[in-house]
């Protein structure tokens, strides 16, 4: 038993030393890497002077082209959406990080069924672990996940999902700064074929809906105009899928630009890289459509 305790102690001490050392290195890397997510988070955390910020997952990152929006609306736009930041929890944390030093005129939030339905992808938040203890909004989201104590305790664990991208971002500029955060997607080998029906649970996730409400509240507190969007997909539209979001939007009088059922895209598989993502040509078409609609909305809103 004595030998075992000595072994255990030796391992624990060794781990502690490695953990703290790697932690210092990674903290430094986080603040200097040009990896996409780390750069975007750094960008929204610092003062950025931008009128409009787009938040969301890969669908927003791949679909909204700031330069087109800027030309059409005459205001500045930054696409702060990030691939793989699965749902509203991440978006709420991103909003909290954004509000540390910024107060944009407008926030455009891309939503999908993943933001309101119980689809089992609640806390895929590993890209936020490196920011634990930095921002209370981020911590409040992370606290919902079971592994939060591990995130707090181990620096190694905190950087588990980001370490390689941080290192790669030292050698390659992946920031997407030239396109103001937009990610240009190349065309696929084959375009999606027939429209299919995708089974998605009808069960609402109450915690996600609560976070949408919190998101709205946070924007109200900072006098930010919030806009919900749902960009096109290539699948048979399910009109009821986003009903919970629609209800919340109506309740709080938030404009909701829903393009999921837009014939303009459903009849054109050649705009899509896959069923959920447009490629660059589709993104250009979509952003132009959205820019036009947003411009109309802003005009009407200012008249009111």
């Amino acid at each position: 038993m004595k030998k075992f305790v000595i072994s255990l102690l030796a391992i624990l001490i060794g781990l502690l030393v490695v953990d703290r050392t790697v932690g210092v290195i990674m903290d430094n890397l986080r603040d200097h890497t040009m990896a996409r997510k780390a750069f975007k988070i750094r960008k929204i955390m610092n003062k950025m002077d931008c009128d409009n910020v787009i938040l969301g997952t890969s669908r927003a990152e791949d679909h909204f082209i700031p330069s087109i929006l800027e030309d059409s609306i005459g205001e500045t736009f930054y696409n702060a959406a990030m691939t793989g930041t699965e749902n509203i929890f991440s978006q709420y944390a991103h909003l909290c990080l954004l509000l540390e030093n910024n107060c944009p005129k407008r926030v455009i939030l891309e939503l999908s069924d993943k933001d309101c339905k119980d689809n089992g992808t609640r806390f895929a938040l590993s890209h936020l672990y490196p920011y634990a203890g930095i921002n209370e909004g981020v911590d409040s989201v992370l606290r919902n996940a079971r592994n939060y104590p591990l995130v707090k305790l181990l620096k190694l664990y905190r950087y588990k999902g980001s370490s390689i991208s941080y290192i790669s971002g030292l050698f390659k500029d992946e920031s997407g700064e030239a396109e103001a955060g937009y990610k240009k997607i190349s065309p696929p080998v084959y375009f999606p074929d027939a429209l299919i029906w995708v089974d998605i649970t009808d069960k609402n996730d109450e915690l996600k809906l609560h976070y949408i409400e919190k998101f709205i509240q946070k924007c109200r507190e900072h006098d930010i105009q919030l806009i919900f969007t749902c960009s096109p997909r290539y699948r048979k539209p399910n009109p009821k899928l986003l009903d919970p979001v629609r209800e919340i939007a109506e309740k709080h009088e938030i404009p909701f630009f829903d393009y999921e059922r837009s014939e303009e895209f459903l009849k054109h598989p050649e705009y899509f890289r896959d069923r959920n993502h447009l490629w660059d040509a589709g993104a250009r078409k979509f952003t132009s459509t959205f820019a036009h609609d947003l411009k109309q909305y802003i005009k009407c809103d200012s008249v009111r």
Binding site: M1, A10, I11, G14, D19, V22, L156, Y157, I164, D274
Partner: protein, 465 residues
Amino acid sequence: MQFNSIDFFLFFPEVCIVYFALPWVKARNAFLLCASYYFYMNWEPMYALLLLACTVITYFTGLAIERYAERKRLWLTIGISLNLGILGFYKYFEFIGENVTTLLKAMHVEIAMPHFALLLPVGISFFTFQALGYAIDVYRGDTSAVKNFFRYALFVSFFPQLVAGPIERPKNLLPQFEVKHRFEYDSVMTGAWWMLWGYFMKLAIADVCGGYVDSVYDNLQQHNGGSYAVAALLFPFQIYGDFAGYSLVAIGAAKVMGFNLMENFRRPFFASSVSEFWRRWHISLSSWFMDYVYIPLGGSRKGKTKTCGNLIATFCLSGLWHGANWTFVIWGLIHGIAVSIEHFFKIAKKSRSGFSRFIGMLITFAVFALSMVFFRSRNVEAAIKVIKGIFTNPGIPFMGDVSLMILPVSFMILLIKELRDEFSIKLPGGTGVQFALRHSVIVFLISFILLFGVLEGPQFIYFQF
């Protein structure tokens, strides 16, 4: 409960502490039995009834075979039929139904087969085969029937190897439940060491490869032949890391508690022939099929042609054991044909060294990688599309997630470990140096897994079988 879940990291030490704290063997066994059922019920509580049913059937089969020796064949047939009936219903009903419907349709007979939408109970093929092995061993007189039901139930449900093996033999595992295992430093450290390597293989190799492989195989439309080729090359490493990793965690967890489970993988990619590969890959299953299918079919005793037939039949059955899909049958067929060719031309028996061994290793890997295209694909058409695409639609492979960049380092670490094990290279230095070296490696591996591993990744692939 998955081995790579936080639940297991809490469950396992608690089980060990209580296990070693209990003073009596019977109390320990009772506790392990409860812990094993709790472990299994974490997936779907109702399916514990299947585990129990399998246990009860084979327990009474064993007793009946011994008690009514003159009718032992009948009792064995009943026991096997009932067990395979449960397995068949859950695993093959849909498959058989689909194929019968297709066949009848071809004969212009329209018939609607009932559809049950069953969820396959985790590990059903593993515990069913372990229990069947017991019944057959009792029938053959290789082991005597266990009188104590709870001890037998523990043999079937022992949690480290319950859901994905190694498929244990009664002669090896049952006697170990009669011994009071002491907390021994060497056992605990060896077991923990194996577990750590298992986690490394699963989290730092299999799941990293899996990210790429899944994105290609799940979206074949979006990729070219270059991506298919990379995915086809990575999948063997994914499945090796996944399954051998699982086996190491299982064997290591048992070792920590003082139990010795059988070896399941012995560095299969060092095999220079497909026959040798099968002596190194999923050893517990291949030896099960060897003992309970291949040899009863006649083995190699009835001439070359019959032997080849037996080999092909055994491998096809082994394929079908993996899953109810023609892809698995073709996977088995490829291995059956390869082993038969080696047997026919006595290739496997030639001892090789140096360059010819290396060439043999490459050919064996190529055969395995080809077969794994069928193993991984959703259906035969998809597998053919992948193979065809590799040769007819070449292109620059998709780059995949940035996490793939760590793979060369992970492979290098694994290669060093495999070479060390293959050639039995001892750690240098005296006791003190070895202690420092071993503990440094442990700290390095834990840190590596934490920093670069896929910690919230998918479950082990073989759980679905």
